[in-house]
């Protein structure tokens, strides 16, 4: 079902789902999870749904975004969904997050969207979010694709599982030798992984890769 909202943005509602695992079962694979405080995680990472389930099945990262709500009466959730759809549809370039006394971090939302686009420059486009629609009764799975129909993925999906492990350790400040000890591999091998992580994330330095990982919610906050 394809709907057009008041601003002309298209949204493909491909399914409705219950929170947690049931929601993911609707669209196995290729799912990114955006929660109502603007944090993005990926479905192939350990993620506890609203029903407390953990260890969800592995899924490749790709085209779909699952908007999930913890507070159904939170209008910010719908604002985020609207904004993201409009951004990906290319119909909106001017947004501003209104987050008076809220937990929603403008920066985390902006960078999360940028991560989904795989385009850091996208962050500067988002300056105002307008929320005016009613809320859905349950989470919806939104099919997000770029204008040419290709799946939308973030830079993080270019990393191998081992590279992601290394990135997690980098983000805690560990050096090569410490990472090598944790993973029980040679530190020269770790160095290779780090160079690869930096290159795949499009960073110029080790620290920039770590900063991007935090900004985009790819690693847990310190």
């Amino acid at each position: 079902m394809r709907e057009r909202d008041a601003r002309g943005a298209h949204t493909n509602y491909v399914a409705e789902a219950e929170p947690g695992r049931a929601a993911l079962d609707v669209q196995r694979g290729a799912i990114a999870v955006l929660d109502n405080v603007g944090n993005v995680t990926w479905a192939d990472e350990a993620w506890a749904g609203d029903d407390g389930e953990a260890g969800l099945p592995a899924a490749p990262i790709g085209s779909n975004l699952l908007q999930t709500y913890r507070e159904y009466d939170d209008p910010r959730a719908q604002a985020i969904a609207d904004a993201i759809v409009a951004i990906f549809e290319g119909t909106a370039t001017y947004f501003e997050i209104e987050h008076r006394a809220s937990r929603l971090s403008q920066r985390s939302f902006v960078t999360s969207v940028a991560a989904l686009r795989g385009d850091r420059a996208g962050a500067v486009l988002i300056q105002r979010v307008v929320s005016g629609r009613g809320l859905p009764e349950r989470p919806r799975v939104v099919d997000l694709r770029s204008s040419d129909g290709a799946p939308i993925g973030g830079a993080i999906d270019r990393l191998t599982p081992r590279e992601r492990e290394v990135l997690e350790f980098m983000a805690t400040g560990l050096d090569n030798r410490a990472i090598a000890a944790k993973l029980r591999i040679q530190y020269t091998t770790v160095r290779g992984h780090i160079r690869s992580v930096i290159e795949k994330l499009g960073a110029r330095s080790r620290l920039e890769a770590v900063a991007r990982a935090y900004q985009n919610g790819w690693v847990a906050r310190l």
Binding site: R120, G173, D175, N176, R177, Y187, V190, R191, I194, R195, R204, S205, R206, L207, E208, V210, A211, Y214, L222
Partner: protein
């Protein structure tokens, strides 16, 4: 363990220690660094480690030879004096520091006098943010070594942000105007990543370094 720092003053340094040396230009650096190194030359159980961009450590060693008026090749061949080279890859640079320190420790040196000359945004040096991580990380990694690490920051040449983020915030001690002081600006490495490195303006908004 503590040790006097030679003619640089009567201060007694803890060992290990990581010290930012603020100096004004090459002449002052040369005088201070050579004082520091020369004091170790007179003690056979101490080692010297000159580190910097390609060619910088070698130049410091040549200056030391000139200062003491003799060829130091025998000490170099014996592994008592080592020249280390910076690397744009910060992980490799860390190895270039740690490997000689391990060798010194294995050979039973009582003290290593390390001079690591700081550069900023230079082609053969880690990018500034990686270098700051390196400086902070050294506080943890030097813990196992009998070393006094002196990091000269040229206040004439390098930008103020390097002095602030690097010299002042990653060194427990500062040496300036001939005096060694505990550094109240120091941020321990377990806090530095979160409180400083991840907030660096050029990483946050893409502004110039």
């Amino acid at each position: 363990m503590t040790t006097p720092l030679g003619a640089l003053g009567a201060q007694v340094f803890p060992v290990p220690s990581h010290v930012a040396l603020f100096h004004h230009g090459d002449a002052e650096l040369r005088a201070l660094a050579l004082e520091f190194l020369r004091a170790g030359l007179d003690r056979p159980d101490e080692a010297l480690f000159c580190f910097g961009e390609p060619g910088v450590g070698e130049r410091l060693l040549r200056d030391l030879e000139s200062d003491v008026g003799r060829d130091l090749s025998p000490e170099s061949r014996a592994g008592r004096i080592v020249v280390g080279t910076a690397d744009a890859d910060v992980d490799r640079q860390l190895e270039n520091v740690l490997a000689p320190l391990e060798a010194f420790r294995a050979s039973g040196r009582r003290l290593v006098r390390f001079v690591g000359i700081v550069a900023w945004d230079a082609p053969d040096f880690p990018p500034p943010e990686d270098f700051l991580w390196f400086e902070s990380k050294l506080n943890e990694l030097l813990a196992g070594f009998p070393v006094i690490a002196l990091c000269p920051y040229d206040v004439v040449r390098i930008p103020a942000r390097a002095i602030a983020y690097g010299g002042l915030e990653t060194h427990p001690f500062v040496l300036s105007d001939g005096g060694l002081r505990l550094n109240p600006q120091f941020i321990p490495p377990e806090r530095y990543l979160r409180e400083r490195l991840l907030q660096l303006p050029w990483l946050e908004d893409g502004s110039a370094i």
